[in-house]
């Protein structure tokens, strides 16, 4: 694997040898380098799981927090310090399952962050239970007779809720994925990139099975066309159209009104609210007829 020296971290990688997560790591590095972002300008945010360990493997700022709770943390980080490029990187169980509610409301808020979902369609670190994206009928180490519910359609949900950048990538395509991630990070507003990342330990199909089913978007696909994006997002579970399904710039970005008042710097650098202004409000509780 090629790494960029400035992003190289001296931390032992705990992923299984050969895991497609390495592909996502490499693609993310390339994207950040291509965008000219220095490590101290980037904050990676994750929950818990194998995918959520990614922030330890890049040299930049990082928050490796609670399972399912990366999105609220990322929103808080982005509001408090918008000079950072804030990127959530976690698994499908983390972002679609435990944290699904946060993602749903993030679509509505449209914060200027990027959300990369390592979608391996399985709970890997807990050893092989169904995730929200495991296909119906697939046997797992907990759903022994096969999953009895339909998978979550989070890309479609993102389109329906007006998420301003919705894409699917493939961990086995370094070139394509790094270009896709660069576009997602550069997008102003919330970017969701669901990355097909086959699990080589618990997954039902080998990488090659996925490779055969990764298809490009139709050449005439119009990413501003919501209905077209929706039908691509709802494609069959055995076919994965890869690329930017949906992209619009129209919606206001989260916290824009506040930022218009206080500027674009870290909140920590703002001067304290003037003491006299607080004293005046305390004085206003005095009741008198003057």
């Amino acid at each position: 694997m090629t790494t960029t020296p400035e992003y190289r971290n001296r931390v032992e990688n705990q992923w299984c040898p050969g895991c497609p997560n390495y592909g996502i790591l490499a693609a993310l590095e390339r994207a950040l380098v291509a965008l000219g972002r220095a490590p101290h300008e980037v904050c990676l945010v994750s929950g818990i799981g194998q995918a959520a360990k990614l922030p330890h493997y890049l040299r930049c700022h990082a928050w490796n927090g609670l399972h399912g709770r990366a999105i609220p943390a990322a929103i808080g980080i982005h509001v408090a310090n918008p000079t950072l490029t804030t990127i959530v990187t976690s698994g499908d169980g983390d972002l679609y399952g435990e944290g699904g509610n946060h993602l749903l409301h993030a679509f509505r808020r449209n914060p200027d962050i990027t959300v990369i979902v390592h979608n391996n369609r399985i709970y890997a670190l807990t050893k092989g239970q169904a995730s929200p994206t495991t296909p119906r009928g697939e046997p797992t180490r907990l759903q022994f007779a096969g999953v009895e519910v339909d998978p979550a359609q989070m890309l479609a949900t993102a389109v329906v809720h007006g998420c301003t950048f919705v894409a699917r990538g493939f961990a086995g395509d370094l070139e394509g994925l790094s270009a896709l991630l660069a576009r997602a990070i550069a997008h102003r507003g919330l970017s969701l990139v669901d990355v097909i990342q086959p699990c080589i330990t618990w997954g039902k199909h080998p990488l090659a099975w996925y490779r055969e089913r990764i298809v490009p978007l139709p050449v005439d696909h119009d990413a501003t066309n919501r209905s077209a994006a929706l039908s691509l997002a709802l494609d069959t579970p055995d076919r994965f159209p890869v690329g930017v399904l949906y992209e619009v710039e129209a919606r206001p970005v989260f916290a824009g009104a506040y930022r218009a008042r206080v500027g674009d710097g870290p909140l920590a650098r703002l001067p304290r609210t003037e003491r006299a202004a607080i004293e005046a409000r305390l004085a206003a509780f005095v009741v008198n007829r003057d």
Binding site: C43, H61, A62, R69, P72, V79, P266, V286
Partner: protein, 555 residues
């Protein structure tokens, strides 16, 4: 006359808040302190609710359980609250309940004199002025201030209605008209703890608040939203998990941040309290208590979450738990919560309750203390070599930089981690030393926790032990019991965790006084080798503790 207790009773939406507010402000401008408490049901219209005023020559900022005057805006409320009216007290109502009733047809007079039955509340306020011995012009002033924004017609209508109510009540009183309260020049701040908490937070430099609406905590985030000049970013989160998650993220990225909730929402925040301890990131949480379990009584008061706040979170990590006694103390404790959270890089919990949220106290005018500290961030220029977010130091406190502050990279990790914030399973050295590092902060914090305030403990045979919002009731109970020749004093805690170091005497009877059924303070003190508790006085019906209840328990 030393004091009057007035219950203004009616249905939700009927306007008891306006009547109480106008009469309270009328008294305040006349130079007298008012304590105003509200009790109400969890509904938008109907039911029973009361706005209770306690007016005295000197501030009496604690509830009275009986009324000298009951003004009932409807017959059902009159019947519901009739047993709270002390024998010989005055009932003011639209219809006579007995020969002594001061009959004031609120709606009829409003229509006749004000031109609209909407002004019935003004009639009621005017009638109360007559019954209480307050000049009508004070009520006219307070009403004018309250309705001026509705235009001249509303002002004129309200004033006419109030004057009619005053005249009818005065005539009905006849020779029983009360002695008027002489005008004084005293001035008071009329304020609730939740009025003050947002201002104190802004003064501390708070820039970020996320919360999910939950009674009785919602007023705090609302205050920031209403007053954008305070400069606090406000977000209504999708749930309390997100509320604390956003605030913690913001704090890690350098903003002083807070959230507020009540018991059920706090339960959802618990995992992130543990996280805050692990990633050593400051956060201030206002836990405004109401009776549980579960949904409990959403609009009532309780002190049931003391042990929950202290123990909330898996694993072992320090935190500060503070419980203000009144609005002035809420100002100080809010500032202190931010200070302790930042200095020790821990969660700090401010325990409030519905009583503190909704009750307005009369206090000397408030102002900010001097020397409000900054966020205790590290000096980036003093960082030598590779920055380590969890560097081991003598006091357990590592130099803190926020995410993106400098080129020094900050790794925050909820896994057990190395000094530079990466996952570790080094069980021999790293894990034990990180546990010790975190706990050392708690040990240092304990050394600066304030002991309880002491009242008449010099010669006391009985000491009442209380915490948080019960201070007014306990102080009053001590005065009453002393008046009856009992040698009673009180120790009152407002800093509860870490528990201050205490010494206890065997020649004193200790009684705990709390708004719960199980004696949580008694259990807390007991867990630290506390005193032998002679008795526990608890109130858990949803109403605040009052002096008479404490006195009765000791009589």
């Amino acid at each position: 006359m030393d004091e009057r207790s007035i219950f203004i009773a009616g249905a939700a939406g009927e306007g008891i808040q306006t009547v109480g507010d106008v009469v309270a402000r009328a008294f305040l401008t006349h130079g007298y302190p008012v304590f105003a408490m509200q009790e109400y049901e969890s509904r938008i219209r109907g039911g029973y609710s009361s706005h209770r005023l306690r007016i005295a020559a000197e501030s009496a900022n604690s509830p009275r359980r009986d009324a000298d005057v009951l003004l009932a805006l409807n017959p059902e409320a009159r019947d519901h609250y009739a047993s709270d009216l002390r024998i010989g007290g005055t009932l003011v109502a639209s219809e006579a309940a007995d020969e002594q009733t001061i009959v004031v047809p609120f709606r009829d007079l409003a229509l006749e004199h004000g031109g609209s039955s909407l002004y019935a509340n003004a009639v009621a306020a005017g009638a109360l002025a007559a019954v209480l011995g307050l000049p009508v012009d004070t009520v006219v002033w307070a009403l004018t201030a309250a309705v001026a924004r509705h235009g001249n017609e509303a002002v004129v209508g309200n004033i006419s209605a109030a004057e009619a109510g005053f005249a009818v009540a005065r005539d009905s009183l006849g020779e029983h008209a009360p002695k008027p309260w002489p005008k004084r020049e005293n001035v008071y701040a009329f304020v609730s703890a939740h009025d003050v908490i947002p201002l104190a937070a802004a003064a501390a430099g708070c820039r970020f608040m996320s919360a999910y609406p939950m009674s009785p905590s919602t007023g705090i985030i609302t205050a920031f939203a209403r007053d954008p000049e305070l400069g606090v970013f406000v977000e209504q989160a999708e749930d309390e998990i997100a509320a604390i998650g956003m605030a913690l993220g913001a704090s890690a990225a350098g903003a002083r941040a807070m959230t507020a909730t009540s018991g059920g929402g706090f339960a959802l925040m618990v995992e992130s309290i543990s996280l805050a301890g692990m990633i050593e990131t400051p956060i201030v949480i206002v836990l405004s208590q109401r009776p549980g379990p579960a949904t409990g009584l959403p609009t009532r008061t309780a002190q049931e979450d003391l042990l929950f706040a202290i123990h909330a979170g898996h694993g072992e990590t320090p935190r500060a738990v503070l419980a203000p006694a009144d609005p002035l103390d809420a100002l100080q404790k809010t500032l202190r919560a931010f200070e302790l959270a930042d200095r020790y890089q821990i969660p700090a919990i401010v325990l409030s309750d519905q009583f503190l949220a909704d009750s307005r106290f009369s206090l000397p005018p408030l102002s900010l203390p001097d020397g409000i500290a900054d966020a205790h961030l590290a000096d980036p220029d003093a960082i030598d070599g590779e920055y380590r977010r969890y560097a081991r130091t003598g006091d357990g406190v590592s130099p803190r930089l926020y995410l993106g502050q400098t080129k020094n990279l900050v790794y925050l990790d909820s896994d057990e981690h190395t000094e530079d914030g990466h996952i570790t399973e080094d069980l021999r050295i790293m894990r034990p030393s990180m546990v010790e590092k975190r706990l050392e902060k708690g040990r240092r914090l304990r050394c600066e926790i304030a002991p309880p305030s002491r009242l008449r403990d010099d010669d006391a045979e009985i000491l009442l032990l209380g915490w948080g919002s019960t201070k007014g009731a306990i102080d009053e109970a001590v005065t009453l019991l002393r008046g009856a020749g009992r040698r009673v004093g009180a120790l009152h805690f407002t800093e509860l965790w870490p528990l201050p170091e205490m010494t206890w005497r065997d020649d004193i009877q200790y009684w705990t006084v709390e708004g719960n059924a199980t004696g949580q303070l008694a259990r807390l003190l007991g867990s630290d080798g506390g005193p032998c508790i002679e008795g526990r006085i608890g109130r858990y019906d949803g109403l605040p503790l009052d002096a008479a209840t404490i006195v009765e328990a000791l009589t």
